[in-house]
Amino acid sequence: IAGITQAPTSQILAAGRRMTLRCTQDMRHNAMYWYRQDLGLGLRLIHYSNTAGTTGKGEVPDGYSVSRANTDDFPLTLASAVPSQTSVYFCASSSGTLPGANVLTFGAGSRLTVL
């Protein structure tokens, strides 16, 4: 079934540790995104990539980095995790960046707890 696969689904992590959340899509979508979801705050964009080889900062990029080496994969890295990064992380994609190509397909999420 076409879609977005995220891993891990859940992780508990000690503060200061490095963590990479993986995201893979098989729809050949050009654009990919990472959001965090926190109670009462909705979804906030962390980083995005309009096409392979390019990335951009979203609303809350501090403490996170991304790479886009190919079309399918868009990993999110926390270099040194802090408790405020405890959240549910969603990877999403869209077919392109032209006007109208702004409907998102989401993965099932990765729940991260930083102690």
Partner: protein, 115 residues
């Protein structure tokens, strides 16, 4: 600048009764508006999208929303609630033609459906 306000954080209805989830937006330009649904422990799924065509937009699972420019509203409705409609619903706004990296999410409305 754009923003979106979901007026109710929690709505409870009885099965078979109408559903109304309220959303007001602010946008400098003609907006694109979306409703997404999130079932427990799942990613978000698109319910419907408005992009300046018909003001009454029909979505999946019997939901529809009406764009009212004079009231800057995009309320989501369904004539008869089903138990399977219990979920979190997000209203999303984008300036017309904006890419997905420019979407603004509301804080969500949790819909509870009781017998």
């Amino acid at each position: 600048a754009q923003s979106v306000t979901q007026l109710d954080s929690h709505v409870s209805v009885s099965e078979g009764t109408p559903v109304l989830l309220r959303c007001n937006y602010s946008s400098s330009y003609s907006p694109s508006l979306f409703w997404y649904v999130q079932h427990p422990n799942k990613g978000l799924q698109l319910l419907l999208k408005y992009t300046s065509a018909a003001t009454l937009v029909k979505g999946i699972n019997g939901f529809e929303a009406e764009f009212k420019k004079s009231e800057t509203s995009f309320h989501l409705t369904k004539p008869s609630a089903h138990m399977s409609d219990a979920a979190e619903y997000f209203c999303v706004v984008s300036d017309q033609g904006g890419t997905a990296s420019k979407l603004t999410f509301g804080t969500g409305t949790r819909l509870q459906v009781t017998l």
